[in-house]
Structure formats: C-alpha cells, structure tokens
C-alpha cells in the first residue's frame, strides 16, 4: 500500500513539470492591495530573483509563497497541492529583522530546527539528523561555530547558520528573504555556490533581493507610482535569464 502511494506521488510530481505555480495571486493587508494577479509557472531547478524597489512587495510575495500571509485571491500550489499543505517541502530563510537573536540557541540548535518538519516536532533527533546537520555545517564552513550562541556571531555567520538550516531541511523549494543583505564576501560566495548546487539538484530557489542578481529568472515588481524602465534589467536577460509574468 505504502509503495503504491509513493509511486503515485512520484508520478504526480513528474507530471507537474512546473512544480511551483502561482495562479492569479492577490495579496492584501486589510483593504490595501499590495500585489494583484501574479501568475508564474516555475519549473524544477529554477533560480528566481524577486526584484524591485523598496515597498514593491518583494518580501510580501515571498512570505505569501511561504504561507505566512493569507492570499486575498488566487492560489499557490506545489506539485499540484496547495502550498500550505506542503510546508515540509518548503524551506524559508527569514529576513534578519524577523529573528529574536538574543534568544539563547546555539548554531547547531538552529540547523537542527531544519530537521523538525521531517522528523516530527516531538521526536528526539536521530543519527541521520545529526549527520545531516554536520554536513550542512561543513558545507557552510561553520563547523567550528556549532556550539556558539547565535547572538555572539557576526551577521554573515548568522546568515550561514540559517542557510545551513535550509540545507538540512532537504526541501524542494527554498525561499530566501534578502539573503545577500549585510554579509561578508565569503558568505556571499558560499551562498552563490549553494544556489548553483541547488539548481543542479533541481530544487526551486526564490530570493527576494534588493540589488544583487545572479543569473536565473526574475519576477520584477514595479511600484505603480514609479515604474522601472525595462532596460534597467536588460543586461540580466542577456545572461540567459527569462522574464516571468508580473503584475501589480
């Protein structure tokens, strides 16, 4: 029975070539409509940068995909299922302002949190979890910081701890809110390397980003009051990026 169900699930995934789908997504805060009619079909192995000026709703769109903001209209699906039912398959790296840094947790604790959704919140960690955590720490170059409290770390090191958490979660979709903001060059390079690796592993990576663009696709958000000239993003398209539908 279990095998049959698994095979069916695999078949369903294979059918959905575009794994992350936004259909006519509308997001509102109270009566203020921030974004409307956003459509996107994002296939596996795609790196998508959500770009645009301050206040255009980059973070908001990412949060909606993470299931943190209810949709005023439309739907977001992953492998054909509503994304709110697929939370285990989505890793989310929040903006640094959203984290209570003074809370006493170690770097290893943070990365281990990435294992909770798979394992169940009340189960003790297994050898497999510990191995995944060790591998993630190693890949981000923070093995020697594992026992340190996150409050003691630099901004770049804190970011790496959270990216390691996303890595340990082994999810199909990775959402990052301003991952490149306020970090050192080495962390920047490691994140770029990881983006490439995730693409090669056919995961979907979406980042809300301010200034940095690193190839791949884009969702460009405009403020209606001050539209961006299209040529501003032209160099990016030449690098092989493709435009996704966007709207306001």
């Amino acid at each position: 029975m279990v095998d049959a169900a698994a095979a069916e699930a695999a078949a369903t995934r294979a059918q959905h070539d575009s794994c992350l789908v936004l259909r006519d997504v509308t997001i509102a805060y109270g009566r203020r409509v921030v974004l409307a009619h956003v459509d996107a079909d994002i296939p596996r192995g795609e790196l998508v940068s959500i770009v645009g000026p301050n206040g255009a709703g980059k973070s908001t769109l990412l949060k909606a995909i993470a299931g943190l903001i209810p949709l005023a209209g439309g739907e977001i699906t992953l492998f054909g299922e509503p994304i709110t039912r697929m939370r285990k398959r989505v890793a989310y790296v929040p903006q640094r302002e959203d984290v209570e840094w003074s809370f006493p947790v170690s770097v290893r604790d943070v990365v281990l949190m990435g294992r909770y959704p798979q394992r169940g919140w009340l189960r003790p960690s297994t050898a497999e979890d510990r191995a995944a955590v060790a591998a993630a720490l190693e890949q981000l170059g923070i093995t020697d910081l594992a026992a340190r409290q996150v409050a003691e770390l630099s901004g770049g090191q804190q970011r790496r701890a959270f990216i390691a958490r996303a890595l340990a979660q082994e999810s199909d979709v990775i959402l990052l809110d301003e991952p490149m903001a306020g970090i050192d060059a080495e962390t920047h390079d490691r994140i770029l390397d990881l983006f490439e690796e995730w693409r090669a592993q056919r995961r979907v990576v979406l980042q809300a980003t301010h200034t940095h663009m690193h190839g791949g696709s884009m969702i460009v958000l405009h403020r209606r009051a001050e539209p961006i000239p299209a040529h501003q993003f032209a160099h990016h398209a030449e690098e092989g990026g493709e435009h996704h539908e966007h709207a306001h």
Binding site: L68, V93, R165
Partner: protein, 307 residues
C-alpha cells in the same frame, strides 16, 4: 541547628515547604521563557487578573485555587485573543485588561466583609495556611505545567526564536503563544497562595533574570532559576517563621537581593566584572582577533615623509 529543625515539627510548616519549593521550580522554568521573551508585564497582568476570581471564590466559600484557576484561564484566553492579533505584545490592551480585572475584584469586595488577614493572604501570600489538598493541587498542576514545558520545549524555543520560520515550517505559533500564556496562568494560580497575587510575578521573573546573568544557555538558565527560586523560598519561609514576618514578602526580598548581588558581582555579565575588564591594562598586550590596515586614496597625503 534547632533553628532549622524546630519548624519541621510543625505540619503546617512542612506543607508550606513542599508548596513553596514546588512553586519555585515551576515558576523558575516558566519564568525563563517569560524573561527571554520579554513578556514580564504580560505575566504580571495575568497574576493580577486572578484577583476577582479569588475574591469571588472566597465570598462564596469555595476553594480559592478553583476561583483563581477559572479567572486565570479566562484572562489568559482574553489576552491571547488580544495579542494573537498580529502578534502584538500590546502593553496597552494588557494594561486595560488587568486593571479592569483588579477593579472588578475591588468592587466585588467593597460592600462585603472580609478580614484584613484574609485579604493580606490573597494579596501578599500565606503559605502556612496551605491545607494538604492545596499542596496536592499545587503538586499536580505544577507537574503538569513542567511536563508540558519539557515536552514542548523545542516548539516553544523555535516559536520564540524565529516565529516566521516556525510558521513557514507549519508550527502553530499563535496557539503556542496562547499555550504559554495558559501555562503562565496555571503557574500564577498555584503560586499566589505562597507569595500572594501582587508578588507572584517576582517568583517567576527575578530568579530567571538572575540566572541570565550567570549563563548564556537555555537549560542552565532554567535550572539555575529553579534552584535560586527554591533556595529563596526556603530561606524566606524560615525567616518568616522565626521573625513572624510575611513569608511571601521575605521570599521576594531574598530573591531580589540575590538578583542585585548577581547584577553587581556575576563573573562575566556583572557590573564589577565589566568595570574590571575596562581597567585591565593586560588587555593591551594580548593578541587581537583582527588588525587594521589603512590605505588612503589621496596621493598627496599617502606618505608624508616623501615630501
């Protein structure tokens, strides 16, 4: 030695001893989360909100703990509802609720007769008045709260540390916030007998705040808080017994003086340690973690010796 052993022949004292230690352990653990979350005011408000429940139970001749339990749960639910809205730690709405609850207690009391002793017991605690049934209820509720905190600790940590990440992973963060409030209310309910409605928050916050001065980690903080709270409670109970002063007030004063001593003298985070480090000249000779290299762009001042 008889100073310590004599009171133990009094069953009321032994009951009180069990009661205050159980309360101090639970309050220390839950207080750790209250302090780390910075929601001390919310805990205080919960404590004051049980006042009308206790007063009404007293006037009806019912068990005070049951009255406190009903009022505490109602207050926790109401505050949870208010704060769950956009997760505001809204001190304004909390201030409105708890003062209103306290006022309700005062109004209910105003045209009834209640002895000064009894009112003092409610407000400032009277551990020696605890009956065997009260102690049993304290132990039962205390164990339940402790079990919930231990069992769900990972969830509470995740929801407190990174609420948006926790929600993205599917954790019911708002429900956990309300649960933390409910557990706080339960702790208040069992603790108010020992130190009184007004002082109960001290037993939750002060030992945990003291523990934070000694350690940067969660489990040691909770353990130290529980230990300090227990020690202060035992000392306060003995002192109150021998000197015939309010044990509740004495417990709080002892815990507070320990806090101030730690604030002054804690090894790393204390005031004295900070001042000593500032004056320590040997720091100037030790190996730094980083060095600075200055590279100026303006050629005319690049090397003053060239000219």
């Amino acid at each position: 030695m008889s100073t310590l052993t004599d009171p133990l022949s009094d069953p009321a004292f032994v009951r009180a001893l069990f009661d205050v230690v159980a309360v101090a352990i639970v309050a220390g653990v839950i207080g750790t989360f209250i302090v780390l979350r910075g929601i001390g005011f919310l805990g205080d408000a919960l404590a004051h909100s049980i006042f009308p429940g206790v007063v009404i139970a007293f006037l009806m001749g019912a068990n005070l703990l049951v009255g406190a339990l009903v009022a505490g749960m109602a207050a926790a639910a109401l505050m949870g509802l208010l704060t769950a809205n956009a997760r505001v730690r809204d001190n304004t709405s909390i201030g409105v609720i708890f003062t209103a609850a306290f006022a309700l207690g005062v109004v209910v009391l105003s045209n009834r007769s209640i002895g000064v002793d009894q009112l003092e017991g409610i407000l400032f605690g009277d551990p020696l008045a605890a009956k065997a049934a009260d102690v049993a209820m304290t132990l039962t509720i205390g164990c339940a709260v402790l079990a919930a905190m231990i069992g769900l600790r990972r969830l509470f940590v995740m929801a407190s540390f990174d609420p948006s990440g926790a929600r993205a992973m599917g954790l019911p963060v708002v429900a956990l916030d309300v649960l933390l409030l409910a557990l706080t209310a339960l702790t208040v309910v069992v603790a108010f007998k020992a130190v009184g409605d007004i002082l109960v928050i001290s037993l939750m916050i002060t030992p945990a705040a003291t523990a934070r001065l000694f350690t940067d980690r969660l489990l040691p903080t909770a353990l130290v808080a529980a230990g300090l709270g227990s020690a202060a409670s035992i000392a306060g109970l003995y002192l109150g017994y021998h000197q015939s002063v309010s044990p509740g007030g004495t417990i709080v004063l002892i815990a507070t003086s320990v806090f101030f001593s730690a604030w002054l003298a804690a090894p790393r985070h204390g005031l004295v340690a900070g001042l000593l480090a500032r004056r320590d000249r040997s720091l100037l000779r030790s190996e730094p973690e980083a060095v600075a290299e200055v590279i100026l762009a303006s050629p005319e001042i690049r090397d003053p010796h060239e000219r």
